[in-house]
Each structure stands twice: as C-alpha cells, then as structure tokens.
Symmetry: none
Subunit: 171 residues, 2 copies
DNA sequence: GCGGTATGAATGAAAG
DNA sequence: CTTTCATTCATACCGC
C-alpha cells in the first residue's frame, strides 16, 4: 500500500495524510496566511501525526495558496477535455501574466505557473528546422520570438498536418 | 516500431519524436523558462503532432533544465561531500510585520516568521472534522480561531496520540 | 515477468 | 506574493 514511507529520507518534510487533511481543511475554511501563532499551533497540533516544523506549515500555505490561485482556471473535467487554454481567446488586460491549471483525472494535481515577460526587449532568433520524420515534412525554419505576438493563429488542429512557423519572441 | 504513440494510455504525456525535437531545439536555442504565452504557443504548435497540454511543455522545460544542471554538477570525482557550513544564522528578530528567511540555500537553516495580526476582530469558525483514516480517529470538530489563544498547551508529543482540538482564531 | 533507466509529474523549499 | 529551484514520486520503456 501506500504505507511505505516513500519519503523515508528525513530531508524534505513528508506530510502524512492526516496532516494534509488538516491543512487542507484549514485552507478550505478560509485560512490563507496564518499568523505566527496560528502556524505554531497548527504545527504543534500536526506534530501528533508526525514530525513537522512550523516552517513546513508556513510553506505549505504559501504554496497551496499560490497554486490554488492559478488553478481556478478551469474546471477539473475529465482528461478527455483536451485543452484548456482559456486564456488565449479572452482579452487579457491583466498586468501580470498568469495562469494555469491542471488537468488529469487521477485527482491530485495542481499545476500552476506564470511567467511574466519582464523585458520589453525582443530578440528574434531563428529556431530549429522543424522536420517531421513521419510526414516527411520539409525543413522549416521556425522563428522563435517570445512574448505574445498573436499575429497569427498558431493553433493547429491535432489533425493538422501543416504547422506554421512557431513565432515566439524571446524576452 | 515507435511510429505509433506507444503510450496509448492517456495517462502520462508521451511526447512524440517531433515534439521532443522541437522542444529540444527551443531549449538549445536558449529558451529556459518560457513565459505563459510562449508555453501556450509552443503547446499549440506541438499539438499538431499529437495530444499535448500546456503543462506538459511547462514540465518539460522544468525537467530539462533541472536535469541539465544536475548533470553538469557531476564534475568532481572525489567524494568531497564535506560541506560544513558554519553559517550562524543571525537571529534578526525585527519587529517587522512579517517575515522569515534565513541564510543559505544549502544546508540547514532557520526560518523565522513573525506575523502581526492586523485586526482586532476575531472570527470564530468551526473547522474540519479531523478524521484519521489510519487510526480511525473519531470525528472531531476543530475550532479554528486565529490569533493566539494560548489557553492551553497545544503542544503534543510526537508520540502523543491524543490531539486536543486546534483552537485558532481567524483574524 | 522483473529489473533498471529515462523522464513526466508533483510539491516542498526557497529566492526574488 | 510571485517565480524558480531541487527533490521526490510515478510511470513508460527497454533490456534481461
């Protein structure tokens, strides 16, 4: 079973199911940024389930909050629902670039990431000759230019055989 | 042989040769941490080769970068793992509103926080029924009330099986 | 069929 | 708080 303490190593804190449950419940109850005292109490309480330090609690809330914040992207539908890419269609006027969500069906994954382009500089570089060994695609030079260019719809159908040059702009 | 997506399972993303090639080229071109937009574009582009999600691209870069770095680290042959860092964590208990932090990244370090409760208001709410699936703990309602209450010592021994209700006061 | 190996995914820890 | 790093976990794939 899962009884195997996978994280046998004493290094990284490996929360037990109970600890996670408690933390989760606390979080769901609205606790976002516990105070020092709260952290200490929670930590002490959770200590009954296993080794734990206050900093673990602190980090847990930070991570959970951050990840949850971006997970609200889309509903956690079945894996069948291929792409979620909801950000693309809409007009984003947020100053920060953020996003993401998760998606498998197995139940526990929260992926989040966001990377904001910090530089206005734009460096254009040519990239990899995209050669498809399957369809024997002719060599194509793809220009990688970071930062949204949105000039053309880069979205291709899964069945699409033709792939327009990836246009990215390295920021 | 590999002409077909071996991993027919919808489980883990199984990148095709083309996808890997594109990603690799992008990486080799200097792309380390793609922005959200870049990820989306790449993902969309790679979608032409097969099912793929943005998070796959995200993870790919994360892993690739980490792996590359890890391999580089393998330079020294001798088991020179004696890293005695006498970092005396300076205990700066500033009366800041909040904080923590420590010293180095490698090795043990102390994390301090001091968060000030900014509101005098106290909202009491009941929290999660603490149920231990392992020890079959009876349902317990824990009252979460932020802000130090310190009425009782919540500190439990690691061996302690009994955990008093967490008493917190949400501020 | 079972091992090891490569790598996708998850998350704790920490830096910015 | 946001973003990245590092470590670990899980799984596909390959060889025996």
């Amino acid at each position: 079973m899962e009884a195997v303490p996978v994280g046998a190593k004493c290094e990284r804190w490996n929360p037990t199911a109970e600890q996670v449950k408690v933390l989760t419940n606390l979080f769901r109850s609205g606790l976002r940024t516990p105070t020092t005292h709260q952290i200490q109490m929670i930590s002490a309480h959770l200590g009954a389930f296993g080794k734990i330090e206050s900093k673990n609690v602190f980090y847990w809330f930070q991570n959970h909050k951050a990840r949850e914040r971006h997970n609200k992207k889309r509903r956690r539908g079945p894996p069948d629902d291929d792409d979620e890419d909801g950000t693309a269609a809409g007009d984003h006027r947020k100053s920060r670039t953020r996003c993401f969500r998760v998606g498998c069906s197995k139940g526990k994954q929260e992926v989040y990431w966001q990377r904001k382009e910090v530089r206005g500089e734009t460096e254009t570089l040519e990239l990899f000759p995209l050669k498809s060994s399957i369809s024997e695609e002719a060599d194509k030079v793809i220009t990688v230019r970071g930062e949204l260019c949105g000039r053309r719809a880069l979205y291709l159908d899964a069945a699409g055989r033709d792939h327009p040059p990836l246009d990215l702009r390295l920021s």
